[in-house]
């Protein structure tokens, strides 16, 4: 029994952006006696800003989308005076509501503390057992080899996208000669729509820090870098504070926890380039050079940062380590499929009802994530597919949603697990347009070094643009199919080697859409402006005139409340889609 009410507010970057500061203000004014607690992002992006109200009976009620407008209803509900407001999610007594299933459907290892603790508080982290694993290692006299062995038993694979067995990589660096070795935490998350690393760094920085300590101990590194995107100021700030606090508490620096183990970390803010997430480019960036990849071998584990053996682990990989060391590698390996163990965090986005951060056991199906956790299609339209692995990944069609979340199973589809981007697409998505979008991203983010990546990806993008504009030919499709594999085959780093994936997988699974663009000059998704036309279905129209009011070129006319009079002048229409967006009865037909 608590003696006063506790208001917990998600204040990750996403929460703040959605208005959590304002919600906190409003609530603290209403309940001045309550204790206000700030936590990281729990991952329910579609519900931000989120508030947990823990009453004196220790019952916690979760509300989403808290704002000025719906606050009175929430306040009434908190006081037990009214029905649950529409933005009520669940209570601790009954977590498994429809909306609450978003959280209950997950298995949270990496994200175990995210959204429950104050990321700036070392005490709270310690209270949740953080630094227990490294304490156990150091005080029990566990050897670095034993640490590596434990990780080996866990069969943990790199979560940054490559999926390389972590223990094996560590083994190379461990046995590489040299006094100085480096451990780098790769937090240069650059995929559009991905925010796994950000949430971890913002929500539970000490877990990542402890992971770094474990890894450093394992490989024998004395120096570490946290390479964090400069565009994540809150993550940089919180992680910086975590380093300071840990150092002050003797958890970082010389003689950690009174032992001879020494390790310290510097933060290097990212150079603002996607390619800097690539290991060799990242190291070049830390060294002060332009972030450009170099050939491997030599692998960083042998000759990396400043020529020293270097291990680069992704934030999520690191966050898993304390759990593994606490619970044992076998416990981790008990989760998942034969070759993919543990859990994986995904950033679920797109045409899905509930988007956000999701951690599920390996071996779950894609369908489980999209339908059970994500609540299926956002607008009730049939789903078409899902882009896995961001711009480097590929598109898995709806028919293959029963594919298991497993490195090899996903690779077999032509997509990749990647760092965990999951963009859901419904029938109103144009697959040509979407692959053009992803290709444009990688094209702009190419470092400009390799011929195929620098020029080849632009040529592919130009062809896709032509197809989207209705100027494509079948020869263009052939050129895409010729160039794609050649670019993959003759590029130095992962960026170029994977850039054509979105195009190649959509060509594989949605070839008919390409042909519709080229031959029939139609865009089945109703997206490509040059190929679509907006018309008003008078049967559905109510004659409300909202479309005309929003139309930027004033090409819609008709008489109020006379549906039969409403028309769009196709000569003037720019196919911006605004009318369809605002029409409540969905009377605007796009084809």
């Amino acid at each position: 029994m608590g003696d006063r009410m506790i208001i917990t507010i998600g204040e990750g970057t996403c929460g703040i952006a959605a208005g959590s500061k304002e919600a906190a203000d409003l609530l603290s004014k209403r309940f001045p006696e309550a204790e206000l607690r700030s936590v990281g992002c729990v991952g329910m992006c579609h519900q931000e800003p989120m508030v947990w109200i823990t009453n004196t009976d220790d019952v916690t009620t979760l509300y989403g989308q808290v704002n000025k407008k719906n606050l009175p209803k929430i306040v009434r509900h908190i006081k037990g005076e009214g029905d649950a407001p529409p933005n009520f999610i669940s209570t601790s007594q009954q977590p498994d509501t429809d909306k609450g299933r978003y959280l209950t459907g997950q298995t949270r290892i990496a994200l175990r503390n995210v959204g429950t603790i104050n990321p700036t508080s070392l005490e709270q982290a310690l209270a949740r057992g953080t630094y227990g694993a490294i304490k156990k290692i150091l005080t029990s006299g566990m050897t670095p080899e034993a640490v590596i062995e434990e990780v080996k038993i866990s069969q943990l694979r790199g979560r940054g996208g490559g999926g390389f067995p972590t223990a094996t990589k560590w083994g190379f660096a461990r046995s590489a000669p040299g006094e100085v070795k480096y451990l780098i935490c790769n937090g240069d998350e650059g995929d559009p729509g991905a925010f796994m690393d950000r949430s971890l760094l913002e929500g539970d920085p000490h877990a990542v820090l402890e992971g770094m300590l474990i890894a450093a101990y394992g490989i024998g590194a004395s120096r570490g870098y946290a390479y964090i995107r400069a565009e994540y100021p809150l993550a940089v700030q919180y992680f910086g504070k975590a380093i300071q606090d840990a150092r002050a508490a003797g958890l970082l620096g010389k003689n950690i926890l009174g032992t001879s183990f020494a390790f310290d970390i510097k933060i290097k803010e990212g150079a603002g380039a996607f390619v800097c997430g690539e290991e060799t480019a990242l190291m070049a960036s830390i060294e002060g050079h332009r972030g450009m990849p170099r050939i491997r071998p030599p692998f960083p584990a042998i000759s990396g940062l400043f020529g020293k053996p270097t291990i680069i682990n992704n934030v999520e990989t690191l966050a898993n380590l304390p759990w593994i060391l606490n619970h044992g590698g076998a416990a981790y390996a008990a989760i998942g499929t034969e070759k993919s163990k543990g859990t994986k965090v995904f950033a679920l986005a797109g045409a899905v009802a509930r988007g956000g951060l999701v951690e599920v056991p390996m071996g779950s199906t894609i369908r489980h994530v999209i339908e059970e956790i994500g609540g299926g299609s956002a607008k009730g339209r049939p789903l078409k597919g899902v882009q896995l692995g961001g711009p480097s990944g590929g598109c898995v069609p709806e028919a293959m949603f029963d594919t298991l979340i497993d490195y090899d199973a996903i690779n077999a589809t032509g997509a990749i697990m990647g760092s965990g981007g999951m963009v859901v697409m419904d029938s109103k998505t144009c697959m040509v347009d979407i692959s053009r979008y992803f290709l444009e991203f990688t094209q702009l983010e190419s470092c400009g070094k390799c011929t195929f990546c620098r020029i080849g990806t632009l040529r592919m993008k130009e062809i896709l643009t032509r197809i989207c504009e209705g100027k494509g030919t079948m020869a263009d499709i052939e050129t895409l199919e010729e160039l794609g594999p050649q670019i993959k085959n003759a590029s130095l780093c992962g960026l170029g080697q994977t850039a054509p994936n979105p195009v190649l997988t959509t060509l594989k699974y949605f070839r008919d859409e390409y042909i519709a663009h080229v031959v029939d000059k139609k865009c089945p998704g109703g997206v490509c402006k040059a190929l679509i036309q907006h018309t008003i279905v008078q049967d559905k129209c109510t004659g409300c005139s909202i479309c005309a009011r929003y139309c930027p070129v004033n090409c819609i006319s008709g008489e109020l409340k006379k549906p039969e009079t409403w028309v769009i002048d196709s000569k003037v229409c720019i196919n911006c889609g605004m009318c369809a967006e605002v029409c409540n009865p969905e009377a605007v037909f796009v084809a």
Binding site: I295, C447, G448, C450, F452, L458, E462
Partner: protein, 989 residues
């Protein structure tokens, strides 16, 4: 790691060093792998992905330049996948490559004359060299210079600035200038004894004869008419093309050793079969097109009607033509103009009938203008429908009809259509139909087996090789492609000669064309991209006589006076050098030719960057960059300067000076290694027309700028240094050269060293000797940077005159940091000390000073009563007598490097007068007769010189002379270089 591993290259088992890259291993096995981004001086980079190979079990293709071999590796270097990937890489690079490999003038010229090259020569005042270059493609430049309609000028990029360069007048000027001094007669290759029959002595035949003869073959021309020249003589009036000029030019061709059979007509006097029986290894048909096209109207074969070419030929042959008073000429081309003007000169009243308007007339505007000026009446939109006859059936006039212009036809011109009921009868005494001509194929009537003929009465032939349907028979000129301009026939003649040469040698007759990219047709380019970048300047106009004067004295004198020398020099400097500076040594171009790559297959958007000419010596054209980063890396890894960097990301990535600042402010010391390693024309010397670009002969020599002894690869063209590069793999100095080694030759040129230095002023030598005889104390002070021979000659001078020998060490110059950092200020000290030289300093007194290429502090000099200066650059104080000394680059000699090796300084420019340095010193000492003598004597004292005196394969000969590493300070060349940089606007410390 020196052990070997076994790998398989193209299924061949080989042993290679364990630490080799795939490329190194392959090259060692003689398997060539192409690359742009790799250079032995640089760390592997792997960006161009041209060097990809297929390795068994590898996930992707691997870049051979940076992938190390592994035991048992199975490598395919030229599988279909590999070749396809390389071609795609090249296609992609070309799709984003800007520029004109060769200037559009050259590309447009049917004979592909190196126009940019010869204009650069003209701009430098080298008219003879200009003609040498022209004659590599066109043996009749004087003829062309008078009458060529110059398609080159209509594509001239200068047209996007203001007006096209007056290319043809420049050609005419230089070739006529050169004709005055006797035409160029190149030396043919040794006789092959192979005979070629050339039927027709017109431009195509003459051109073929010229090039065949140069290849050592024995061409013989069979000419149907009394004189050579073909249409140039019989179709072009002599007031446009004076015969005296043409005759001398043709004679120059015959002087090579070309036999001519006059008045021998194919099909009348001999047949092709006859020629083959006579033992000619090949027959070239170059019979031209001398049969006038019919008008296809009624009664056109009446007496009083004749073809334009027939009329012109008759006049030249002096045959009588029944002219009457009123002459009609039908047609709107150059032949029609010529006919009208000739008829006018023969006293007729001439009316020219043309069925369209003046805007559509194909004749050159100048010709139209002059024709009208000379009083020829032109009736536009008038077409003849019938020849009117008198009672005897002789033509007495024409029925004509008025035309109106309809819709454009396939030629783009508006089609003339007759206007109903507009018939009109005009009276004429002579009607000349100048509406075109065809080859006269009746010449084949005697043959049993005939070469195939097209429906246009031309020979069926391969436009790439000039091969006809008959083995060993070739065709060129108007008879193969149909009537066209003269220069096309000349180009065809040369190509036919190449093809015939292959045929005679039993080789497969196949001619490859080098890849060349173009910025595009002139009409498709934006004036705004060119015009603001150059100062505007009017095109030079040729002087032409006024119409009244043209018609005086029969009217047969030349009417166009051409350009003056001053005009030509100014006009040549208008060329904007759009052809790429790297055209002769561009890897991108070479590989594109080899892999048959094209910029069109994967065409798309291109980067667009202006050229950066802010640095006085180095030009950067980023839109030609393939981002191999060799320049960035050589600057950073080898020179440790980091003046260059990648700029931007993604597709727009380019190479440029750091932060896009002017290169000279980024720490660049102008070593130009970036130019050296650039595989394209992105980085090039910013030297303008002084350097062409021209091809040159490569001379390997030693840099004399300091005592390091770096190897230099010097491109020399006709006594002119065109470009200096480092030698990759040179043992000295990591194969890097510095700004002085690379660019100092420009000082020599700026100082006029391309002409021999003047000999001693009259009496100066005697006066100098007088000084020295009267001196109580003579001191000879040398720069340590002279050649061994020069230093030695100075030592002999000192010894002979009882003086002392000194080297200059007092001044500390601030200079460029040399590659590898510690070079500046060391000279041939070891040698000097061995010869007993002392450093020059305040304590040394002398009343007569001989300064050899070295300045001396004014106060010290003032102490001496007499000062004699021998130097290649102006000394910094007043000497009593000054002798010039040739630039070391032009001096044969020997050089003692810092490492104690003797380095031969090869004569770069072959004029022996250039070797003046030791001679002046020799004359002063009166003890040295000639260079051989000097060297012989020196060899007795420095035994290693004996090795240098012999022809030897290596540039460097090791010696036991210990280098003395005490830094001396100054060298005259260094000062001069700094001054030169200052003049060019560079702050050089």
């Amino acid at each position: 790691m020196s052990e070997n591993v076994t790998i398989f290259i193209n299924d061949q088992e080989v042993q290679v060093p364990a630490n080799a890259t795939i490329r190194e291993a392959s090259e060692a096995q003689g398997v060539h792998i192409p690359t742009f981004c790799h250079d032995d001086r640089l760390k592997p980079f792997a960006s161009c992905f041209l060097c990809v190979v297929e390795v068994e079990k590898a996930r992707t293709l691997l870049p051979a330049c940076s992938t190390k071999v592994a035991p048992g590796m199975r490598i395919q270097t030229n599988s279909a996948t590999v070749m396809k990937s390389r071609k795609t890489a090249l296609d992609l690079l070309l799709s984003d490559h800007a520029g004109d490999c060769i200037a559009p003038c050259e590309a447009t010229c049917p004979a592909n004359i190196d126009i940019q090259g010869y204009i650069a020569h003209i701009a430098n005042g080298e008219f003879e060299q200009a003609v040498h270059l022209i004659k590599q493609r066109n043996p009749l430049p004087v003829v062309c210079g008078r009458i060529c309609p110059h398609p080159c000028e209509s594509e001239c990029r200068r047209g996007l600035v203001d007006e096209p360069v007056a290319i043809n007048p420049l050609k005419r000027f230089s070739s006529e200038y050169e004709l005055q001094y006797g035409p160029v007669v190149p030396k043919p290759a040794p006789d092959t004894g192979k005979r070629v029959a050339i039927v027709g002595g017109g431009p195509a035949g003459l051109s073929a004869a010229y090039y065949l003869r140069q290849m050592g073959h024995a061409p013989e021309i069979f000419e149907a008419l009394p004189n050579l020249g073909g249409m140039a003589r019989y179709g072009i009036p002599r007031f446009r093309l004076p015969w005296e000029m043409m005759d001398r030019e043709i004679q120059a061709i015959l002087d090579l050793g070309v036999k001519v059979h006059h008045n021998q007509r194919l099909g009348k006097n001999f047949s092709i079969a006859d020629l083959q029986q006579m033992g000619f290894g090949a027959v070239l048909l170059a019979i031209g097109a001398h049969k006038a096209k019919p008008m296809r109207i009624a009664n056109e074969d009446s007496p009083g009607v004749m073809g334009g070419v027939d009329f012109l030929r008759k006049v030249v042959l002096g045959e009588k033509v029944e002219m009457g008073r009123r002459v009609a000429v039908i047609g709107g081309g150059d032949t029609a103009m010529d006919c009208a003007r000739v008829a006018k000169r023969l006293g007729a009243e001439v009316t020219l009938l043309y069925r369209r308007t003046q805007a559509e007339m194909p004749a050159l505007p100048m010709e139209q203008h002059e024709t009208i000026e000379e009083g020829v009446e032109i009736r536009f939109l008038t077409a003849p429908t019938q020849v009117l006859q008198d009672a005897q059936g002789k033509a007495k006039g024409l029925r004509v009809i008025t035309m109106v212009l309809g819709d454009p036809d396939e030629s783009g011109r508006r089609r003339p259509e007759p206007l109903k009921d507009s018939d009109e009868d005009l009276e004429f005494d002579l009607i000349i139909a100048a509406i075109g001509q065809d080859p006269d194929m009746s010449c084949l009537d005697m043959e049993d087996e005939k070469p195939k003929v097209t429906k246009w009465s031309t020979f069926v032939y391969d436009e790439k090789t000039n091969v006809t349907s008959q083995e060993g028979v070739f065709a060129a000129g108007d008879c193969s492609f149909g009537p066209d301009i003269l220069i096309r026939a000349i180009g065809e003649g040369r190509r036919a000669a190449q093809a015939i040469d292959l045929h005679l040698n039993g080789a497969n007759v196949k001619l490859t064309k080098e890849y060349a990219i173009s910025r595009g047709r002139l009409k498709d380019l934006e004036m705004a991209d060119f015009s603001p970048r150059f100062p505007h300047k009017k095109r030079a106009l040729e002087a032409t006589l006024p119409a009244r004067q043209r018609l005086e004295n029969g009217g047969w004198g030349a009417i166009n006076m051409g350009l003056s020398e001053a005009q030509a020099l100014a006009e040549a400097s208008r060329c904007i050098e759009c052809g790429c500076n790297a055209r002769f040594d561009c890897d991108l171009r070479n590989y594109s030719t080899e892999y048959n790559a094209t910029e069109k297959r994967l065409a798309g958007g291109k980067r667009k960057y202006d050229e950066d000419k802010r640095h006085p010596l180095i030009k950067i054209e980023s839109d030609k960059c393939i981002t191999c980063a060799s320049c960035v890396r050589v600057c950073s890894e080898v020179r440790r300067i980091d003046a260059l960097a990648f700029i931007n990301r993604g597709f727009t990535t380019k190479i440029g000076p750091n932060f896009n600042d002017p290169l000279q402010t980024t720490g660049c010391d102008a070593c130009g290694m970036c130019i050296d390693v650039c595989p394209t024309g992105t980085l090039s010397p910013n030297t303008g027309k002084e350097c062409g670009p021209w091809t040159g002969e490569e001379v390997i020599t030693t840099c004399t700028s300091c005592s390091r002894g770096c190897g230099l690869s010097v491109k020399v063209k006709e006594n002119r240094i065109v470009k200096i590069n480092s030698i990759n793999g040179d043992p000295v100095n990591g194969a890097c050269i510095c700004a002085e080694g690379r660019f100092a030759y420009q000082i020599a040129m700026a100082n006029g060293a391309k002409t021999p230095p003047p000999g001693p002023p009259s009496g100066a030598l005697e006066a100098a000797k007088e000084f020295m005889f009267n001196a109580r104390q003579l001191a000879v002070v040398v720069s340590p940077f002279l050649t061994v021979e020069e230093i030695y000659a100075a030592a002999v001078l000192a010894r002979k005159r009882g003086g002392s020998l000194h080297y200059h060490s007092a001044l500390q110059a601030k200079g460029a940091a040399k590659p590898n950092g510690k070079l500046f200020g060391e000279g041939n000290l070891a040698l000097l000390q061995r010869l007993g030289a002392k450093p020059w300093g305040m304590g040394v007194g002398a009343d007569c000073l001989v300064l050899v290429n070295t300045p001396v502090d004014t106060r010290q000099a003032a102490a001496a009563a007499k000062v004699i200066a021998v130097g290649s650059h102006a000394c910094c104080f007043q000497a009593n007598i000054v002798f010039s000394l040739a630039d070391p680059l032009e001096t044969e000699g020997t050089f003692l490097t810092r490492d104690g090796a003797l380095a031969a300084v090869r004569p770069v420019l072959r004029d022996p007068d250039m070797r003046a340095g030791w001679r002046i010193l020799g004359a002063l000492s009166e003890d040295i007769a000639d260079f051989a003598w000097l060297r012989k004597r020196l060899a007795n004292e420095v035994p290693e010189l004996a090795a240098v005196a012999q022809p030897f394969p290596q540039r460097l000969v090791p010696t036991d002379l210990t280098p003395v590493l005490d830094a001396v300070s100054h060298d005259g060349r260094g000062t001069a270089f700094i001054n030169h940089m200052g003049k060019m606007g560079l702050d050089w410390g």
